[in-house]
């Protein structure tokens, strides 16, 4: 089963929380920006791809038990979010790729 570490290497993701556990296994992928929608549909162990960058991303990731968050399209996390993911041990990555391009690569990693 693919891990966060596999994903980071294959997608050349930039890691914004090096202390987070990257050996966790991935169960699938969820994509969304409306936080209430993500809250209701993301699932434990998923890779969550979003373009949201505020602190509430950390709460949603933690409450849904997502394995990691990938912020797409070159979006950068704000300082509040960086502080919170470090405090709550959430794996947070960024990528310059589009959501679509990331999704394809995530699919490849999950099915490798």
């Amino acid at each position: 089963m693919a891990t966060i570490k596999n994903l980071q290497q294959q997608l050349e993701l930039i890691n914004h929380n090096p202390d987070a556990d990257c050996d966790r296994e991935l169960s699938g992928c969820y994509i969304g920006d409306l936080l209430s929608w993500v809250m209701a549909h993301a699932f434990s162990g998923c890779v969550w791809i979003t373009i949201m960058s505020n602190i509430n991303v950390a709460a949603v990731a933690s409450l849904t038990d997502a394995a990691c968050v990938i912020m797409a399209e070159g979006v950068q996390p704000d300082q509040d979010l960086l502080d919170r993911v470090k405090r709550d041990d959430i794996a947070l990555f960024t990528s310059p790729l589009s959501v679509y391009e990331i999704a394809i690569k995530v699919h490849d990693v999950l099915n490798a």
Partner: protein
């Protein structure tokens, strides 16, 4: 297990704290050994309520009562009240500001999510006085 009572004061001014109470309840439920589905439903219900308190009501007080077969969440605020409760139950209906929407909230999914993931929900609201939401999440395993 005796019934456990947790209480949280939600700060209505600080968006950065939204979700803290929900996260804490999730931690407690995990420690107590509740199953993943129950924890998830309780977390969603409470988070939506917490966000509503911050967006609409300048905060409030949340009481959570935990016993082995159910989690009861009572959220009380002294905000403006809900003007049209029938509409508030509809998916996509929102009175949130653009600023709030830019943060990823205000999709009109709050009450619908709370209804979907709880086993019981009751809302008492009075314009100018406030709103109290009571939800019960039952364990299914």
């Amino acid at each position: 297990m005796d019934k456990i009572h947790l209480q949280y004061n939600v700060d209505g001014e600080d968006f950065t704290l939204a979700g803290e109470a929900s996260s804490d309840v999730r931690r407690v439920l995990r420690k107590l050994g509740f199953d993943g589905d129950t924890i998830r439903r309780a977390a969603i219900c409470m988070y939506e309520g917490e966000i509503n308190m911050v967006i609409h009501a300048s905060g409030g007080v949340i009481d959570v009562y935990i016993d082995p077969d159910s989690i009861e969440i009572i959220m009380a605020d002294t905000g403006p009240g809900i003007a049209d409760i029938e509409k508030a139950w509809q998916e996509g209906y929102t009175t949130a500001s653009q600023t709030v929407r830019d943060l990823g909230f205000g999709a009109g999914m709050g009450l619908p999510n709370m209804k979907r993931y709880s086993d019981f929900i009751d809302i008492e609201t009075e314009l100018g006085k406030g709103t109290t939401v009571k939800m019960i999440i039952k364990t299914r395993s």
